[in-house]
Subunit: 214 residues, 2 copies
DNA sequence: GTCCCGCATTTTGTATTCAAAATGCATAGT
DNA sequence: ACTATGCATTTTGAATACAAAATGCGGGAC
C-alpha cells in the first residue's frame, strides 16, 4: 500500500475541487477560512495555500482585507473559457502524432457510442466526457499544454452543475464525438480539428440555452 | 498619492519576477525560504504564498519535503510555451474588434519601425516587444484570455535573458511586426493572424539558434 | 424616524513557533 | 579503500499567536 505523502495544500485543493464539483459551494460566496479549516481538520496555513493556488486557476477571487470568495459565474466568462479551451485542444490535436491518433480512433468511436441510452447523472456524463477528451489528447507531447488545459478546465468546473443533463444535448455530444473519431479514422486531421472546435462551441451553446441570464 | 495597499504575497511575487527577469536566479537552483525571506524583509508565510502562486505559473517547481526550485529550462519546454502563446494570441486577435484593430494599426506600424537603429539592451528590447504585443491585443474583450496570456508569458520570462540581443534578429522582429501592422491596415485579419503566428515561430527559432543544447 | 459616528467583534494578513523530514558528515565495519 | 549506518544540522511543512483591517451593531444627534 502506497502511503500518502503529498503536501496538505494539494490534498486540500483536490478536496475543495471535489466539493465544488458536487455543488457544495455557491458562486460568489465568501470563504470563511477558520470555519473551512476546522471543517477539513487542518490549520489555516495549508488551507490558505490551497486557496491561493485555486485563485490562480480562476476558481476563486481575492481582495485585500476581504479574503477569498468563489468566483461569480457569467455567460460572458463561460464563453471566454470555452473559446480558450477549444483553441488549446485544437492546438493539442494539431501537434499530436498522427500515427497515435489513428491507433486510438477506434476506441474513441467506441467510447462515443457506448452506453448512450443509459440514464446518467450529470456527474457521470461529465466524467465520461473528460475521459473521452483525455484519451483524445493522450498523444499530445506538449506537456505544458496539457497542464494548462487541466488548469483552465478546473476553472470551468463551476459551470458544470449549473444545468441539468438532458437527453437531447447528451445525444448531440455523443454524435459530435463520433464525428471527430470518424475523421481521425479517415486520417482527416484538419477535419477532426474543425469538428472538435464545433463540438466545444456546440456544447457551449447547449449549455447557454439552459443558463439563466446574468 | 495612492498609498500601496496590496497583499505582501503579491508584492513579493512581482519582486521575484523582477529579479528573475534581471537574471538573478539561475534555473534549476533551490529556493532557501529563510534566506530569501530575510533578504526581502518579510516572514516566510507571505513568501511561501508568493512561491505557490509562481509555481502555478510554471516559474517554480516544488516537491514534497524539498521545497521550491526555479524550474529548469529546456528547448523542448520553450517550444511548447511558444506554441501555446502563438495559439492564444492568434485567438485573441481573431476575437478582437476589427474596427479597433484598424484604429491601432498605424500606431503599431510606428512602434514597429521606431528606433530600430538604437543600440538597445536586452531588457529594453523585451519591454518594447511586450508593449507592442500589448497594444496589438488591446482590443480583445476576452479578459480570461488576456489573463491567461500574461500568466503563460510570465512562465516564459526565464528564457528571455538566456541569449544576448543581436542586431539581425531584432531587425527581423521589427520587420515581422511591420508586416502584421500592414495586414491590419489592409483589413486582412486572417493574414495578420498568419503573420503573427510566423512571428512567434520565427522568434522562437532565432532564440533556439542561440540557446545551448540541453 | 433616520443618519452618522464610535466601539466591540469578527476575519483576514503576517509573524512566530513547533514538528517532521531531508541533508551531510563522521565513524565503524567489511 | 569503500560502503553503510547513525547522529547532528538544516530546511521544509504545518500550527499557533499576534496585529491590523473590515464588519456589524448600538446609541446619540438632528
Amino acid at each position: 500500500m502506497a502511503i500518502e505523502r503529498r503536501p496538505l495544500r494539494e490534498q486540500i485543493r483536490d478536496e475543495l475541487m471535489d466539493r465544488l464539483t458536487r455543488g457544495e459551494f455557491a458562486a460568489g460566496t465568501d470563504v470563511n477560512e477558520a470555519v473551512l479549516a476546522a471543517e477539513l481538520g487542518v490549520s489555516r496555513t495549508p488551507l490558505r495555500e490551497a486557496l491561493i493556488a485555486l485563485a490562480g486557476e480562476g476558481v476563486l477571487e481575492s481582495s485585500q482585507g476581504r479574503g477569498f470568495r468563489f468566483a461569480p459565474v457569467s455567460r460572458k466568462e463561460f464563453r471566454e473559457l470555452v473559446a480558450i479551451v477549444a483553441a488549446l485542444e485544437a492546438l493539442a490535436l494539431e501537434s499530436s502524432d498522427p500515427g497515435h491518433l489513428r491507433t486510438i480512433a477506434p476506441r474513441l468511436l467506441d467510447l462515443a457510442q457506448g452506453f448512450p441510452d443509459q440514464v446518467a447523472t450529470h456527474a457521470t456524463v461529465d466524467r465520461r466526457d473528460d475521459e473521452w477528451h483525455g484519451l483524445l489528447l493522450s498523444g499530445c507531447a506538449n506537456e505544458r499544454l496539457l497542464d494548462l488545459l487541466t488548469r483552465v478546465k478546473a476553472g470551468m468546473r463551476r459551470y458544470e452543475n449549473l444545468v441539468v443533463a438532458e437527453d437531447e444535448p447528451v445525444a448531440r455530444e455523443s454524435e459530435e464525438h463520433c464525428e471527430i473519431a470518424r475523421r481521425l479514422l479517415a486520417d482527416d486531421l484538419p477535419g477532426a480539428i474543425t469538428a472538435l472546435r464545433a463540438n466545444w462551441i456546440g456544447g457551449m451553446e447547449r449549455m447557454l440555452a439552459h443558463l439563466p441570464e446574468d
